[in-house]
Every structure is written in structure tokens, then in C-alpha cells.
């Protein structure tokens, strides 16, 4: 599903964010990516959705070798993965419904199929009744749920989440995790960068720990392993 072979990334300012990374993530896995700030977690995640290109090595996601695809093809690749961010990245002037529907319009889904599917995923994240509201009228947790609904509306094989609970209070974070668990149970591969020790230690999954741009630990049902 996701494979990195000898991946290194050095930024123009000389910072080495990835250094000889080799990793395989199988279909249906739930993987936490952990590590101290500045360890290279974000770069690791960003390379998976081709926001960053590695300086060396290959990254294969859904059978596509990312370093070799042209910039113009990047949007087409991204249609097959769902993405969730710490800052939600919602279109503020669009309603909840429009934000989710946008991901379907982009891939030119038949308009008749859009509404039922958007309502279905909004129901899954518990926001069907707030479909007409704007993101600014929602709480942080609700906004993140909209972002999750958007990330799964096209049934992607992979969902990549970069610190999805970073801006949320503990209780809301558990709600979000329940939704991710449900998505993973339905067969979607989930890769999640996080700083949340409680979540990693309580909802056990594979843990990949990154420090200094290298994978220093890769354990099934691992622990967070750092003090917050």
C-alpha cells in the first residue's frame, strides 16, 4: 500500500529531515507516527501525499511512485487518499455540506450521487444536522469531523492524518479517534502523526518513531515512548 525505499530529504537550508528511511505499510493497517518536535514526522507524512519530494529514494503509494509523477498529476493522485490536518483546512466560506461535496465535485462525480453520499458520511461523523452551517459556526472538534468526512467521502484506500487531535481537547480527541477506528475497521489504511501520548498508549496500533530523520523504532501495538 505504502512503501518507502532509502528515502532521504535534505531541505535547501541544509536541514536533513529524512535519512535513509525504509518502511512498508500494508493495506488496512493503522499506524501512528511519533517523535519529538522537529524529528521529521511532518516531512515523513508530507512525502506520502507528495507535498514534499524526497531528495533521494522512492515512495510508492497506491502503486504510484511519487517522486516520478509530474506536478500536474499530483491532484489526480491525491484523489485516492484522504487527508486530515491539525488546522482542519476547511473552506470557510463554504457550508459543511459544500466542504464535503467539493471533494466529490473535484472528481466529477455524477451530481445525483453527491448528496446521498455526503449525507451518509456526515451521518457517520455525527454532523448531518449541521450540514448547512459554516465551519466558523462549529467547535474545533466538529470542524475536524467535517474534515474527516471530506477525507473519506470518496472512499480512499489510505487516510493520512497530520496531528488531527493537536488542536482539540482530550474529550473531543477521543471522539475523533473513535471515528478513525471506525474508518480503519471498514478496511481503510490509516497513517497518523501524533503527539498524543494517551491516545497512542490506549488505542494500540503499530507505532513508528522518528528521530533525526530516521526510524528509530517500529513496533506492532507499540507505546508512545516519549514524555510530553
Amino acid at each position: 500500500m505504502i512503501e518507502m525505499k532509502d528515502v532521504s530529504k535534505t531541505y535547501p537550508n541544509g536541514v536533513v529531515a529524512a535519512n535513509g528511511i525504509n518502511v512498508k505499510i500494508a493495506k488496512g493497517e493503522f499506524v501512528y507516527v511519533v517523535g519529538p518536535s522537529g524529528a521529521g514526522k511532518s516531512t515523513f507524512i508530507k512525502m506520502m501525499y507528495r507535498e514534499e519530494k524526497p531528495s533521494k529514494g522512492n515512495i510508492i503509494v497506491n502503486g504510484i511512485n511519487l517522486p516520478s509523477i509530474r506536478n500536474s498529476k499530483v491532484p489526480l493522485f491525491r484523489r485516492n487518499i484522504g487527508m486530515v490536518f491539525q488546522d482542519f483546512k476547511l473552506l470557510e466560506k463554504y457550508t459543511v455540506y459544500e466542504n464535503v461535496a467539493f471533494a466529490m465535485e473535484v472528481i466529477e462525480t455524477d451530481p445525483a450521487d453527491i448528496k446521498p453520499r455526503v449525507m451518509e458520511v456526515l451521518d457517520l461523523v455525527g454532523l448531518k444536522h449541521k450540514a448547512r452551517m459554516k465551519p466558523t459556526e462549529l467547535s474545533g472538534g466538529e470542524q475536524q469531523r467535517v474534515a474527516i468526512a471530506r477525507s473519506i467521502v470518496n472512499d480512499p484506500k489510505v487516510v493520512i492524518a497530520d496531528e488531527p487531535t493537536g488542536n482539540l481537547d482530550p474529550e473531543t480527541s477521543w471522539d475523533i479517534m473513535n471515528i478513525f477506528e471506525e474508518i480503519n475497521r471498514r478496511g481503510t489504511t490509516l497513517v497518523m502523526a501524533t503527539h498524543n501520548k494517551d491516545i497512542v498508549n490506549n488505542i494500540k496500533h503499530r507505532v513508528i518513531a522518528i528521530e533525526g530523520g530516521r526510524i528509530v523504532r517500529d513496533e506492532q501495538r507499540g507505546e508512545y515512548g516519549y514524555e510530553n
Partner: protein
């Protein structure tokens, strides 16, 4: 692209206009103000041009014949005149008619020439009109060479000055309109650019969700088109109303033959079309240029 997607882009472009309330207002205002300036200037220039054309088209050449010319000579001269390239009409004006014209033209003062009706000192003449006002001087020079043509009059000196004045006025007008258009494009595209800069985050998110460049570009492109079209409505309305009013009020006041405004109907339609197209083109162009910047990875 699917028809339903195109429909979606149209809907989105209208929604965006509503979503970006104040930004939309700023862009439309910029289009309105600049197009109003361009429109007013265009109206003035076209009318000045029209007056200049009237004066130019009225310029005619008079070829006075030698008194020795008899009827046969006149027929031959008329043939020669018609052969000259650029000549449109040739009309014979006998000396008696020339005197009548002179007396009429001078009004009351013309009476002093009445005694000459018995012994007319004037000459027979041909009145020649050229196909294009620019040919007058060239044709006049050729006529001078025809035998038994005693003298040629086309308002020498005045005509040259008039033509060069009209040429200069036209060129200055063109330069001013071009300059104004450039300023308009600059101002409008900058306003649109500011509104789009404010929406760079929106574009970034669209890209993350998998929107291709053309998918992002279309609604912006259409939005620019609507901004331009909406922005041209007020200038078109104002210019149409004021021009019609001015025409109705001013035309009866003009007593000089050449001084007349362009008739309202087709002229207003032409100016409106120009402003509408200008607004649409500038709007689309400004919006495409601005979006382009954010579509590079």
C-alpha cells in the same frame, strides 16, 4: 469536462460573488470607475472624429476654366477630370450660377455684386469631389496641369492645416484611449489580484483535496467575467442616459453646419458593446493572471 461540471463552475462562480461580498464590491467598483472614464472619453473622441469627418468630407475642389474654353473644350476637360484616379463626382457650374452662389453666400452684403449680373466677371467652373478627403491635394495638383484650367481652388493652406490638425487630434486621442485602457486593465487586475490573494488559502485547500488547476481556474475565470460584465452595467447606463439627454438638448443649439453629434441609436449600441466587451475581457484576464500565480507548485 462533463456538462454537469461546467454547470457546477457556473453555479460556483455566482456563489463566489456572493461569498466574497466586499471583495466583489471592490472589484466591480474598480471596473465601474475605469470603464466610466474610458466610456466618456470614447464618446468625446468619437464625436470629435465625426465632426472632423464632416468637415473633411465637405472639402471640394473648384477648377476655374479659361474664358477661351468653348463647349467642345468643356466636354474634353470634363472627360479628363473624370479620368483622374480618386475623383468621385464632377459637376459643371456655369459662371452665372457661380455669381448667384456668391451673392447668396454673402447674404445682404451680396447685393453689391448684383450689378455684375449684366457683365459677369467670374469664370465657368467644375466642382470636383474626391472619393476620400485625403486625395484632395493630390487630385488638385493633377487638375492644375489640365489645359484651359485657369486656376484651382480647394482652400489651399486651410485644407492642409485642417488635415494635419485632424490627424494629430486622432493620434492623440488614440494614445490617450490606449493609455486609459492600460490603466484600467492595471487597476482592475490589481483589485482582482488583491481579492484572490485573500483567497490563496482556499486555492491551497482545493489543491489538497485533489482539484486540478483547470478545475480551480474555471470558477475564477467565470467570476472575473461576471465582475467585468456587472462592472460595465453602470457606465453603460449612465453614458446612454446622459448622451441621449445631451443629444436632445444640444442638437437644436448647434447652428454651424458641421457641428453635430453622432445620432443616439447605433452609436449608444456601439459604445455599450465596446464597454461590455472591455469589461468582460479585462475581468477574465485579470482573474486568470492572478490565479495563475497560486497554481504553481
Amino acid at each position: 469536462m462533463k456538462i454537469s461540471t461546467l454547470g457546477r463552475h457556473f453555479r460556483e462562480s455566482f456563489k463566489n460573488i456572493a461569498r466574497n461580498g466586499w471583495m466583489t464590491f471592490a472589484s466591480i467598483s474598480a471596473v465601474t470607475v475605469t470603464l466610466l472614464l474610458v466610456g466618456v472619453f470614447l464618446v468625446i473622441m468619437m464625436n470629435l472624429n465625426h465632426i472632423a469627418d464632416n468637415v473633411q468630407n465637405d472639402v471640394e475642389i473648384k477648377a476655374f476654366l479659361d474664358n477661351a474654353a468653348d463647349d467642345a473644350d468643356r466636354v474634353s476637360i470634363e472627360k479628363d477630370l473624370k479620368k483622374i484616379s480618386g475623383v468621385d463626382t464632377v459637376v459643371f457650374s456655369p459662371r452665372d450660377k457661380e455669381l448667384d452662389n456668391l451673392i447668396d453666400d454673402l447674404g445682404d452684403s451680396g447685393d453689391v455684386f448684383k450689378p455684375f449680373e449684366q457683365d459677369n466677371p467670374l469664370r465657368d467652373a467644375y466642382v470636383i469631389k474626391t472619393k476620400s478627403p485625403e486625395d484632395v491635394i493630390k487630385v488638385a495638383k493633377k487638375i492644375e496641369k489640365i489645359e484651359l484650367v485657369q486656376s484651382v481652388n480647394y482652400g489651399q493652406g486651410f485644407v492642409e492645416n485642417l488635415f494635419s490638425f485632424v490627424d494629430i487630434a486622432r493620434n492623440i486621442g488614440l494614445v490617450l484611449i490606449a493609455g486609459l485602457l492600460f490603466t484600467a486593465m492595471f487597476l482592475i487586475s490589481n483589485t482582482i489580484k488583491i481579492t484572490i490573494v485573500a483567497r490563496s488559502k482556499e486555492i491551497e485547500i482545493m489543491r489538497l483535496v485533489g482539484a486540478t488547476n483547470s478545475f480551480i481556474r474555471w470558477p475564477f475565470f467565470l467570476e472575473g467575467l461576471w465582475l467585468g460584465v456587472f462592472g460595465s452595467i453602470v457606465p453603460i447606463a449612465l453614458i446612454s442616459i446622459f448622451y441621449s439627454q445631451l443629444y436632445t438638448w444640444a442638437m437644436p443649439q448647434f447652428t454651424i453646419k458641421y457641428l453635430e453629434m453622432l445620432p443616439t441609436g447605433t452609436f449608444i449600441l456601439q459604445v455599450s458593446t465596446v464597454l461590455l466587451l472591455l469589461g468582460a475581457i479585462i475581468g477574465m484576464w485579470g482573474s486568470l493572471m492572478s490565479v495563475r500565480k497560486f497554481l504553481k507548485i
